[in-house]
């Protein structure tokens, strides 16, 4: 009964979404207040029914209802309850339901926090989001219904993929989807502006906080995924350039470009059509990511199902959504005009170059990911692109981008003197250079790549300190000055600091990691990076749905006990899949990482053991967290609070004029 309620709710939600995708947009075109006004109630109704549907599926999982096909495929009665809940999004159908639910939640949020917007804008934005929801709900109901019954019911389920039975994976997909789907808000605002034909600076102002929130979720989602790969796959790597990882990186890069481009459009009225195009592209890549993951056109550790029927549906949906928006762009954008003028060297030009570099980076990831498909389709044979390609194109693009990232916040709008800027930053650059050249000697090994990475990181930090000094130090009261700076300024600096921390992590872990892959008998010791690891054997363990062995490794340094590590090797009962659970001692300056390889046949309890010392590896994720915190600070800024009525001399304050 419960699954049927879920199924029925999905159908109701589809109906409401279809109304939402049509009526308010027609209303806005005809200036019909009634049709526009039903957008908000429809958005609320859609969310309610999506919540019921998701609740029904969660209930089916928690109550082990194996008469539901999707539950039987992705759960098992031995599975702990928390993983039964996360198994809801452990497969294709449930992921889609989560996608649609999150889209409904974003739509509801826009409906609630848009009281200060003109009615026709709200009607169009919610209408576009409703239209997107129609696509996903139709897809689910026609090709991938999570509530399909399995009759007679299975005695027990096939269990969740052991790779996904992990705390990190409980929250990674919802976070990432919040980001993917969140870009639909910026997309909807851009389309609403195109539909209304009013591409002024106000739409940029309205969509900025939404874009930033989506970007924050996406940053955290990607970081979580990378962290999971690090501790769960047992190989100590943190990014593999897998097609599905790339699918999340591309919209992130474009989303980053979009955030910066929106700032210019809002403040200076420039780059208008470029910003609109970025908003369309960021969401299009989110949709494309879904297509790549769900259609199985590319092989990847993540692809769950390769069903051509589903692929055709998503592709048609992509063609409709992206094709229509790009046609709309081609039709409306030429009338937009260029906006504020700026000099060849100005904050605008620096931001524009950053934008271009970020977009080129996204394009190069795109080409690398889809190249095998292109070549195959053209009949040039089957081939694959590995990390060497990505390293070769990504680093040269990021170096100039980071250099400009240091200059951007220091530069003035409109025009700056090149010489004046060079003079201002010379000490910052020199100190970064000296640190970058000297620090590797202190750390033990000097290589050009380490020095380059450190130079970039300390360049960001040095220019950041310079900017803070100029703003905070002076004749007047320091505390007063600290208070006078906007939260969004601090947010920007914090996010940039996050990039520096991230680069330090990447550089140092790549440059100084130690790996030992050894056969260890019981009682053997291995020393690595100043630490001594003693292997005390493996004893058998039994988990709720797996059996396995737990190793015991004692770590000492200079005779002092440091920690004890318990890496595991598991064999899951239902799927028979072997899994490695690495044991990691996390530290600010280094991680100690031990994972079990294979038992050595014919020996007395000896195992192949992998031992890694990973210096500064956690800085990679700490950097991502700082970036996300920076984003949160920026949207907490006073001027984004609802009903803020700051009369300003700034460009494009149509908003205030309308609401005041």
């Amino acid at each position: 009964m419960i699954p049927e309620i879920g199924h029925f709710s999905l159908i109701v939600a589809l109906f409401l979404a279809a109304c939402l995708g049509l009526l308010p947009i027609i209303g806005a075109a005809r200036n019909d207040a009634v049709l526009m006004a039903i957008a908000r109630p429809l958005a609320r109704g859609q969310f309610v029914f999506l919540t019921i549907a998701l609740g029904c599926l969660v209930y089916a999982f928690v109550s082990n209802d194996f008469s539901v096909l999707y539950v039987a495929q992705h759960s098992n009665s031995q599975l702990p309850v928390v993983y039964r809940i996360s198994a809801v999004w452990g497969g294709h159908e449930g992921s889609l339901l989560l996608w649609a639910f999150i889209l409904g939640a974003w739509t509801l949020a826009v409906a609630i926090y848009s009281r200060h917007l003109p009615d026709e804008m709200v009607a169009r934005v919610l209408g576009v989001m409703g239209f997107v929801a129609v696509g996903f709900l139709l897809f689910m109901l026609l090709t991938s219904n999570p509530f399909d019954r399995l009759l007679p019911a299975a005695a027990d389920g096939r269990d969740l993929n052991p790779l996904l039975q992990d705390p990190g994976l409980v929250i990674h997909p919802p976070m990432l989807y919040m980001g993917y789907v969140g870009f639909s808000v910026a997309f909807a605002f851009a389309l609403a502006a195109l539909l209304g034909g009013k591409l002024d600076t106000t739409w940029a102002r309205w969509s900025r906080p939404w874009t930033t929130v989506a970007w924050v979720f996406m940053t955290l989602g990607i970081a979580l995924g990378s962290w999971w790969a690090y501790y769960e796959l047992g190989w100590g790597g943190w990014w593999f350039w897998d097609p599905v990882e790339n699918a999340s990186l591309m919209p992130w890069l474009l989303g980053t470009a979009l955030m910066h481009s929106l700032a210019v459009t809002e403040k200076r009225g420039a780059f208008k059509s470029w910003t609109v195009l970025l908003a369309i592209a960021a969401f299009s890549l989110s949709l494309l990511g879904t297509f790549l993951v769900r259609s199985g056109v590319l092989t990847s550790v993540h692809s769950f199902a390769a069903d051509p029927k589903r692929g055709i549906f998503i592709l048609s949906f992509l063609v409709v959504v992206i094709g229509v928006s790009l046609l709309l762009f081609a039709w409306r954008a030429p009338k937009v005009g260029l906006g504020g003028k700026f000099d060849i060297l100005s904050r605008e030009s620096l931001l524009l170059s950053n934008n271009v570099l970020l977009s080129v980076a996204a394009a190069s990831v795109f080409i690398g990911t889809l190249y095998p498909l292109f070549m195959d389709a053209l009949g040039f044979g089957k081939l694959s692109v590995g990390p060497p390609y990505f390293h070769a194109v990504f680093v040269p693009l990021m170096v100039p981008m980071i250099l400009m990232m240091g200059l951007g916040p220091l530069a003035r709008w409109k025009k700056i003197g090149g010489l004046e800027l060079a003079k201002r930053v010379r000490w910052a650059f020199l100190s970064a250079l000296v640190i970058a050249l000297m620090l590797p000697f202190v750390m033990g090994t000097w290589t050009a790549m380490i020095a380059l990475g450190l130079l970039l990181a300390f360049w960001i930090i040095a220019t950041m300190l310079l900017g803070l000094r100029d703003r905070l130090l002076g004749r007047s009261d320091f505390l007063q000055r600290v208070r006078n700076q906007s939260l969004s300024y601090y947010g920007m600096q914090l996010a940039h600091l996050g990039v520096a921390v991230f680069i330090i992590g990447v550089t140092l872990v790549k440059g100084y990691e130690t790996e030992r892959d050894v056969r260890m008998d019981v009682g053997d010791t291995v020393s690595a990076g100043g630490y001594v690891f003693r292997f005390d054997g493996v004893r058998e363990i039994e988990g709720p749905n797996y059996i396995g062995g737990r190793g015991h490794v004692v770590v000492t340094k200079d005779g002092q006990a440091v920690t004890e590590l318990y890496p595991e090797k598991r064999q899951y009962n239902v799927s028979g899949m072997p899994m490695t659970e690495a044991a990691i001692r996390t530290g600010l300056l280094r991680d100690l990482y031990v994972s079990l390889g294979e038992p050595i046949p014919g020996s007395d309890g000896a195992w192949a053991v992998r031992i890694y010392i990973k210096p500064f590896v956690d800085w990679i994720w700490a950097g991502c967290v700082l970036m996300a915190l920076g984003g949160i600070l920026a949207i907490s800024d006073r001027r984004y609070r609802i009903h803020s009525k700051r009369s300003g001399a700034k460009l494009g304050n149509v908003l205030e004029e309308k609401t005041a």
């Binding site: 056109v297 094709g323 590995g386 990390p387 892959d517 490695t580 294979e598």
Partner: protein, 175 residues
Amino acid sequence: MMRFILPFVVFVVLAVFLFVGLNLNPREVPSPLIGKPAPAFVLPQLHEPQKNFSPADMKGKVWLLNVWASWCVSCREEHPVLMGLAQQNIVPIYGLDYKDSSAEAERWLQKGGDPYVLSVTDTEGRIGIDYGVYGVPETYVIDKQGVIRYKQIGPVTPDNLREKILPMVAELQAK
């Protein structure tokens, strides 16, 4: 006007490619090589590069040819399955190390264990083209006469090992 329509044109081209790509399901087995003799090659061995290996050496035996690389992510997923299979001594697994540097390949095997009787190195990926390698990993079942009987694209899982590969190996060995 033209420059504003450009994004749309680019997207249409992309959509056509994606549509064609849909019909080239990478996990299916479109290989025209099934039922045909395994393409011949002579390649240096990974551990002892002065020695060569050729499929002709395997006449009279049923064996698996597994295409792998140290840079390949899915191989990590597949690796423990192959290690388990190698320990059972049912069928010899030979590795084709595809477009890889030998140093990294050796480190990879030291790290995770070596399920292969031996691996050969295909640094340029030429042999990969002969075999129609799309993504790494891929696994071929080759019979006593040197004919390819089955091709697994993507990682070998305990399921398809149990249901497909091992029954086929047993059948071919009995012949």
